[in-house]
Symmetry: C2
DNA sequence: CGAAAATTTGACATGACTCAACTGGAGTGG
DNA sequence: CCACTCCAGTTGAGTCATGTCAAATTTTCG
């Protein structure tokens, strides 16, 4: 069984050995091929999803068919349309694997049962959701106040691993710029390095 | 006593008459003069705050002293550093009145008591927080994908009243652009109207 | 009324996008 | 193993979006 989820949860809340067993049987593994769609726009998201391996994205499409990536996920990350999950309303995002991907997911109903067995899990998710909210606030402020180059540098600092796991044009989409523009930023940076 | 809070809550959850009384005694009115600071950066936010009248903003300062407004609030809105409130950590935002302002606020401890008296209130806040999250997601995507003129037009449609209640340079800050740029967008729009 | 703040205006510089062409690597089928 | 194709990434030219700065004008508030 995958241990990364357990150690991930233990970074935030303590767990008894017996509780670990409950968690491991409540989460179901899910394999995704490359570019497989996990959640379609308009469907209700009924699972919380943890990435064990591979990479995955959550995005919207504009009317010209262009992607706007809201979330990128690799090993150790949660990916979901949280609003759809919490409110049982149709998803506004599409969730799709980038590379072949292994997830652990738990259904909403099963999670309710798990809350009874492992009370700490409720705290764990409350904390994760709060952190997601504040991270989004920070990203919003920065998207509006900092030029793309600065945002890219911060991205590199924070998500070094992610940068190596997803193609560059998706990072551009995540940053809210065109692939060409990101390319020119990278060129400018490497030119500056040589001097 | 102010009734706007009660009718606001009743738009989302039903309330008995007795519950209304509990709510009204749990929330305390607070008067603010113009430009009065309600929450300093670094303090912990201990209240949920509902605007009865006037206008108020939540913002960060960059190193040059420039404001970045994350939230604007007028009558009928909630304004808070939600993360600080939820996690009892130091606030990253400053909350300050724009115009003289009347709030109704409830302390965290008092809210716990109120949850016992009026269970619907817990659902009410859960729904409000979820909506805040999805609104922020939408704003983030649009900040990165749409030009300032489009964002301003959407702002006008959604927040007509707000536009008349706060100075233009704050709207520019909320939109993530300079006051000069917003001014030129408005000029272009009014020029186009005449043709 | 007078001072301070907010808004407008215009000239200029930089950021970012579009489009088109090119490069280079990863399959794929012969 | 080679030629071919496809796709990601790069490059450059031209254009539009947005920021900076300074000055003029209007509004607000004491």
């Amino acid at each position: 069984m995958h241990n990364s989820l357990i150690s991930h949860i233990r970074q935030i809340v303590p767990l008894e050995e017996q509780e670990v067993a409950h968690i491991q049987s409540a989460f179901k593994p899910k394999q995704l091929a490359r570019k497989e769609i996990l959640l379609h726009k308009g469907d209700v998201s009924n699972h919380m999803r943890f990435v064990v391996d591979g990479s995955i994205k959550a995005f919207t499409l504009n009317k010209d068919g262009g992607e706007h990536i809201l979330q990128l996920g690799i090993a150790g990350w949660w990916v979901n349309d949280l609003y759809s999950y919490l409110t049982r309303t149709p998803a506004t995002f599409i969730i799709q694997s980038v590379e072949p991907c292994t997830l652990l997911q738990i259904h909403r109903d099963q999670l309710e049962v798990l809350y009874g067995q492992v009370p700490m899990i409720e705290r764990f998710f409350r904390i994760k959701i709060q952190r997601a909210y504040v991270a989004l606030q920070e990203r919003t402020v920065k998207a509006m106040s900092q030029p793309a180059e600065v945002r890219y540098l911060e991205f590199l600092k924070k998500y070094r691993k992610l940068e190596q796991s997803v193609p560059q044009y998706m990072i551009a989409s995540y940053l809210g710029i065109t692939p060409e523009h990101l390319s020119s930023i990278r060129k400018k940076m490497s030119d500056a390095d040589l001097s």
